[in-house]
Structure formats: structure tokens, C-alpha cells
């Protein structure tokens, strides 16, 4: 099992989510985060005084999948997240030791499967 953690632009999220859903990966989490990288800050002027804002808002997307599915997820993120400009973000793949579903107590890769209803809804 691997966790894919991607830092992406806000506007990239919706196309990524839609495609992951159709591919059968409805389970993901996002957070509104702020970070810095190669992208320059943005200068705010407040009644004449300046304030440079180095931390830019991004979406952090997290998604735990079976090892075999990692490439599919990463490819989807790269496909929709890329504008070519500085500030498109980064993707990290992190090993995951174990997983449990709270409702049933199931563990292992079974936990990562989409709900049968969710899978049906996408077809």
C-alpha cells in the first residue's frame, strides 16, 4: 500500500477528482494548505503599505492505494495538474504499513476498495 500525497493548484483538483472517480478511486482527502516553493510570492498593498505574501494557497490531496494502482493515480494528477507554469506543485509517494476500516474493522488492501455502490454509480 502507498499513500500518494500531491500538492496541487485549486483549479486542478476538480478534473483530477472526476477522473479518479471514473477510474474507481473515490476515496481521497484534501486539505487547504499554504506553502512555498519556486513560485514567487504575491504582493498585497494595503492602503499604500506593502506586504509580500510568500506562502501561496494550494490543495493537498491524499489518497491511499494498492501498489499496483500508484502509477494510475500519479499519471492522473500529472495530466490534469500541469499548466507548465511555476507553481503547479509536487507529488510524493509514501509507503503505508497498515490500514483499517473503522466501521467494520476490516484491514489490509480490502479497505482500499471502492464501495460497490460508488463503483456502480460511475459506470
Amino acid at each position: 500500500m502507498k499513500m500518494v500525497a500531491a500538492y496541487i493548484r485549486h483549479e486542478a483538483f476538480e478534473p483530477i477528482r472526476t477522473e479518479l472517480l471514473t477510474l474507481g478511486f473515490p476515496s481521497l482527502t484534501i486539505s487547504e494548505v499554504k506553502g512555498s516553493g519556486r513560485q514567487k510570492g504575491i504582493t498585497e498593498r494595503y492602503r499604500g503599505a506593502e506586504l509580500t505574501n510568500y506562502l501561496r494557497p494550494k490543495i493537498k490531496l491524499e489518497c491511499v492505494v494498492a501498489d499496483a494502482d500508484v502509477q494510475t493515480i500519479v499519471d492522473t494528477i500529472l495530466k490534469h495538474g500541469r499548466t507548465g507554469a511555476v507553481g503547479d506543485g509536487k507529488v510524493f509517494v509514501i509507503p503505508v504499513e497498515q490500514s483499517y476500516r473503522v466501521r467494520t474493522g476490516e484491514s489490509g488492501e480490502e479497505v482500499l476498495q471502492a464501495h460497490p455502490d460508488a463503483a456502480a454509480a460511475t459506470s
Binding site: 485549486h10 483549479e11 476538480e14 504582493t43 498585497e44 494595503y46 492602503r47 505574501n53 510568500y54
Partner: protein, 476 residues
């Protein structure tokens, strides 16, 4: 007394003797109706001015938080441009004597006998500066309505360019025809306070702007399905609606321009009844459709009903006001839902001001009481009183003419703006929000600038020396 005053006035203003003017002032001081009318018209005008705050909060509430600050800049800029433009030429075009266009009283300068230069308002004894101020705030309201459809994606400069054209030419000529003594009014069109002259003109400008501007990014899916883009603050929206409702007690009742006969109180009641019916009808319609009590639609229902009763407020009986308001409440819900499928109108201005404005204007042709038509001296009673379609015909003609005039001129103006200056910000600027991209600052800075970046510049820690331990009562 009045006739005598008029004769002396005419004599004095032709000689323009300084002493004569002083005498004139003394004569005016003897006539209490001058003071009473002037006070009422100014009070009403101030209430209408406050409607700018209503529009601001309504639009801010219906915008996302990245586009909140720009609305304030827009309202302030538009109101100011309108103030100077309308003083310079707008008022003369709108209320100066003339059938097709007013052509007297530019810059409020050397206008001579105001009752001859601005004859349509001669029935009121308010001073001409009071009448000017009252009519100017109407022009500013009409301009504010234009921008409801354009939120969250328009370039700021477009406001400036169109505001000048609108306040100098489009609104003055359109309103002159309808209630400035122009040909539609002479023809018998009834529009007491401007369902057509103010609200429809604004909404048609909004329609033309929207056709050139297109929808916000993300409003429609690739397949063309509309999606909701919820505004960020319903309480601010509600505050805006209530401020507008309050302002309307200047808007409609003030259009009597007379404070001495107390008739304006009738107009207050008629206006309020319509608004109440609009809220309930919009809530009910939405409940039938979605089984929820929609907050935004309740507010839109109030606005639509107020717009609709604006034309009839001096012409209809209270029972008819309830009918007019209720129908407007239904129209606005149906209109917003239908228009949203194809056109991205973030605040529902096309329905609340456009469709309801048309309905209100036509409603005069149905519900105008013959007694009030005679009292106002414009047109005649409506269909339900005398079974006569004449008045309805006058109203329909007025709507069609005003729509065609304002739409063609506005469409052309926006076409020129689009092909020279440009209408829209870039997609990237739109994503970042107009606050930061057009104004360089956020409406809500702390939502966008992380708190850690705002503290710590002065050296970081709060104290350089750790405080000495002090025994507190809790340790004893």
C-alpha cells in the same frame, strides 16, 4: 399665492437683479410648502442614496470571499462618476424641457425659472437642487443594477467607461421618455417611480454586459450543465436586502415630491404590502419546487416585488399591491431558475430588476385605479376597473421602446469596450479573485495570508528576558 409667486419669479429672473433674488428668497420663505416639500424630497433622496449600501452588501454576500472588496471600490467609483456626470449633463437630458430629449439646465447653471426649465416637476414646491439630488440618486441606483450580472470576472475599467456613457446618455434619455416629461409619458405611459425608467433600464444594461462577458469560470460543466457557485455570506446578503427595502421608502414615496399633502404615506403602505407579498410568494414557490425555505430566494422575492410595485406605487390600491408583489415573487423564482440554465447572473438581477420591472410596468395597465390616474394626470384606469386595454397597450409600448433603446446602445458600448479595452480579466486573475488581481489587496486578508506571515517581523519572541516567577493566588 402660487400663481403670484410664479409671476414675480418670472419677472425677477428675467431681470436677474441681485435684489430681486433676495426678494424671491423672502417670498419662498413665506411659503411653508417650499420648506416641507424640500425636506421630504431630501430625506427621501438620502434614503435612496443608502440603497447603494444595500446593493453593495447584497452583491458582496452573493460573491465569493476573494471578490468581496472589489464591490466596495465599484460602488464608490460608480456613485461618484454618476454624481458628476448627472450634474453636468444627465439631469438636463432627463428632466429639462423637451419631447425627445431634455435640452435645458446643464450644470444646473442659469436655468432661469425652474418650473419652465424642468416643467415635469413643477407641481412640487421643493427647490430645484432638492429635485436634482433626488433624481441623481435614482440614476445611481439604475447604474448599480447594471453590474449585478457582471460580478467576479469583469475588468474594473469597464465600470468607469460604461458609467460615464450610462449616466450622461443612456439613463437620462431613457428616463426622460418615461418619467421626465418625454414622449412616452405624454403618450400616457404610467411609471410612478421607475419600474421601467430605473430598474428595467439598469437590468437591460446588465443583460447587454452579460452577453459580452460570458459566465464565470466553473459555472457550467463541459456539457453545459449549470452549477451553483454559492456566495460567501448570506447574513450580509440579508442586510443588503433589508437596507434596499428601507431605501425603497424613499424611492417610491419620495416620487410624490410633495410633503404637504401626506399622500406619500399611502405610497409607503402600498410599497410595503407588495414587498411582504413578494417574500411570501417567493418562499412558497421555492418550497413547492425544492421543499426548502430558500434564504436567497426570500430576499430576491422582496427585491422583485419592490421593483414591480415601483411603477404602480402611486397608481394602485393596497389590495392590488399585494397581487403585484406576489406575482413578482413567483416571477423571480421561475426567472432565476430558467435564466441560470444559460446565463450566469450571480445575483439574479435579470429576474429581480428586469422581469419584475416589466411585470410591474404592465401591471399598471391592469390595476391602476382611475381615481389615482386622474390625480397623477397620466393615462387612465387599468383593465380590471374598466375592461379597457388602452392603458396596458401604453405600458407595453413603453417597455418595448425602452428595452430596444437601452439594449442597442448598451450592447454597442460594451462591444466597443470589449474590442478596445477588454471586458474580462484573465483566467488566472479570475481564479485568484478580483480583490488581489484588480486592487492588490484582499477583502478578507486573514483568509488568504497565513497568520504566521503577519507576525514575527519585529524579532519574533514576545519577551527577550523570561519573566520572574510570581506566586499567584491559585498557587497559595
Amino acid at each position: 399665492m402660487d400663481k403670484q409667486r410664479g409671476r414675480i419669479f418670472a419677472t425677477l429672473t428675467t431681470t436677474r437683479a441681485a435684489g430681486g433674488r433676495r426678494l424671491l428668497g423672502m417670498l419662498a420663505a413665506l411659503d411653508p410648502s417650499v420648506g416641507i416639500d424640500t425636506i421630504w424630497v431630501i430625506v427621501a433622496g438620502v434614503l435612496v442614496m443608502f440603497m447603494q449600501a444595500g446593493f453593495a452588501f447584497l452583491e458582496i454576500g452573493f460573491s465569493r470571499q476573494k471578490n468581496a472588496g472589489t464591490v466596495i471600490a465599484k460602488i464608490l467609483t460608480n456613485f461618484s462618476i454618476s454624481a458628476i456626470s448627472y450634474w453636468a449633463v444627465g439631469f438636463a437630458f432627463a428632466f429639462g424641457a423637451g419631447k425627445l430629449i431634455g435640452h435645458k439646465g446643464f450644470f444646473l447653471h442659469d436655468y432661469g425659472d425652474p418650473d419652465k426649465t424642468f416643467p415635469i416637476m413643477g407641481f412640487s414646491h421643493a427647490t430645484i437642487t432638492a429635485k436634482f439630488f433626488f433624481q441623481f440618486v435614482f440614476a445611481a441606483v439604475s447604474l448599480a443594477i447594471v453590474w449585478g450580472t457582471t460580478l467576479e470576472r469583469i475588468k474594473f475599467g469597464v465600470y468607469v467607461i460604461y458609467a460615464i456613457v450610462f449616466s450622461c446618455v443612456i439613463y437620462p434619455i431613457g428616463s426622460h421618455w418615461v418619467f421626465g416629461g418625454g414622449w412616452l409619458q405624454q403618450h400616457g405611459m404610467q411609471d410612478f417611480a421607475g419600474s421601467t425608467a430605473v430598474h428595467l433600464i439598469g437590468a437591460v444594461g446588465a443583460f447587454a454586459a452579460l452577453l459580452h462577458l460570458g459566465p464565470r469560470r466553473g459555472k457550467y460543466t463541459v456539457e453545459g450543465q449549470p452549477r451553483a457557485i454559492p456566495g460567501h455570506n448570506m447574513p450580509l446578503f440579508g442586510l443588503g436586502v433589508l437596507i434596499l427595502w428601507l431605501g425603497w421608502f424613499g424611492f417610491n414615496p419620495g416620487s410624490t415630491l410633495i410633503g404637504t399633502d401626506g399622500r406619500f404615506a399611502d405610497v409607503v403602505v402600498v410599497t410595503n404590502l407588495a414587498a411582504a407579498a413578494g417574500v411570501l410568494a417567493a418562499l412558497g414557490t421555492m418550497w413547492l419546487k425544492t421543499k426548502t425555505f430558500d434564504i436567497g430566494m426570500a430576499g430576491n422575492g422582496a427585491i422583485a416585488a419592490l421593483v414591480a410595485i415601483t411603477a404602480g406605487s402611486g397608481y394602485v390600491a393596497p389590495w392590488a399591491a399585494i397581487v403585484i408583489g406576489a406575482v413578482a415573487g413567483v416571477i423571480v423564482v421561475v426567472g432565476v431558475l430558467a435564466i441560470d440554465k444559460k446565463l450566469d447572473d450571480p445575483v439574479g438581477a435579470l429576474s429581480a430588476h428586469g422581469l419584475a420591472g416589466i411585470w410591474g410596468t404592465l401591471a399598471c395597465g391592469l390595476f391602476t385605479s382611475p381615481r389615482l390616474a386622474t390625480l397623477n394626470g397620466v393615462g387612465k384606469g387599468g383593465l380590471v376597473y374598466n375592461g379597457d386595454f388602452t392603458q396596458l397597450g401604453h405600458q407595453a409600448l413603453g417597455v418595448v421602446v425602452v428595452f430596444a433603446f437601452v439594449f442597442s446602445l448598451s450592447w454597442l458600448t460594451f462591444w466597443v469596450i470589449k474590442h478596445t479595452y477588454g471586458m474580462r480579466v484573465t483566467p488566472e486573475e479570475e481564479d485568484n479573485g478580483l480583490d488581489i488581481s484588480e486592487h492588490g489587496m484582499y477583502g478578507y486578508p486573514e483568509q488568504f495570508i497565513p497568520a504566521p506571515e503577519l507576525v514575527g517581523y519585529g524579532g519574533g519572541a514576545y519577551r527577550t528576558v523570561p519573566p520572574a516567577p510570581i506566586a499567584s493566588t491559585s498557587e497559595v
